[in-house]
Symmetry: C2
Subunit: 194 residues, 2 copies
């Protein structure tokens, strides 16, 4: 195989969910359609413009992100997520109309990630300055997410703001079998009276 093709295959194979066969299909497609390769290159170049919003730390192309700029969003509610792309996942539900705060990770004593490595101080400052009424935690229902949630609760409780957590439970439309024990345990604890 010629080196240029081998390099493309190896670059593509490193992407998540792309095996060698998928990489080949994509590489041959890009060779057959140079205009698609150009489009992808332009899009990748555009990534260098992507920075972080100074208010919520979500993705932004300079200045405030589109959500923080939008006056129609509920300015009194902040949803806290660990990673910037989780904002998009929540947006997709169409169920949330408030603001976000991206922590930049989760507390992890084993990985040496402490409160000062996250945007926690800025969250506290925002709640104070923005007159936030509710903070919704949308963090992984695992050890590190729980640890981070408890830490945030301790920080925010003194400010008198309402702190809630998204419900964890059995995915909609799935069999009970599809849920692992931890999820099922959460679903039981978070049961709703009928």
């Amino acid at each position: 195989m010629i080196p240029a093709l081998e390099e493309l295959l190896s670059a593509l194979s490193r992407l998540p969910g792309i095996g060698r066969r998928s990489a080949e299909r994509i590489a041959f497609y890009l060779l057959a359609k140079p205009e698609e390769a150009q489009r992808l290159m332009r899009a990748l170049t555009g990534l260098s413009k992507v920075g972080r919003c100074p208010r919520c730390h979500g993705f932004s192309e300079g200045g405030l992100c589109p959500i923080c700029r939008d006056p129609k969003r509920d300015q009194k509610t902040i949803c806290v997520v660990a990673r910037p792309w989780e904002v998009e996942q929540i947006e997709r539900t169409g169920e949330y109309h408030g603001l976000y705060h991206v922590l930049g990770g989760l507390l992890s004593p084993t990985s040496g990630i402490g409160p000062e490595d996250l945007t926690l101080a800025h969250l506290v400052q925002r709640v104070k300055e923005e007159g936030t009424e509710e903070v919704i935690l949308a963090l992984e229902p695992r050890l590190e997410g729980d640890l981070t949630a408890m830490h945030i609760l301790r920080l925010l409780k003194p400010l008198g703001v309402k702190v809630s957590q998204i419900a964890h439970g059995v995915p909609v439309g799935r069999d009970l079998e599809a849920a692992d024990e931890l999820t099922l345990g959460r679903a039981l604890k978070g049961r709703i009276p009928l």
Copy 2:
């Protein structure tokens, strides 16, 4: 969503086998790892170097391709394929050690693709000039592949070269169910006495 991210998602979603969800996973991965985005951009830039081998019309980075340059390949056998990436599929078997000839497509009266649109004249010229002893046709066992195979047979028979076709049949390690009727029909016709 910010425009730069939207553009990347749309460019990725156009690739074969990549849906919206896979595109998101890849985009967020590339945002988190700028060095991987750089690597992919470099590899895409390298594609502009990929041309065609003047002898076999397979992929090349200028001049003869690695296979045509390799004196250890059997110079008396040519395997004919429709598309340049099919060379790689055959190479992967490790069962073939001869040369290739890439047609650039298949004859298709309905799409208006005639003999002059393919590298057929060059194949004939090569067989004459290179003293080829066997031409192996590795074309799709469908209408257009068969049409092309018959055409090549007519062109090459007068030259006294042996022309063969790869066997079509039930994929190894698969149930009979896995083969469509056309394949199964071919497998029956091409049965081997035991």
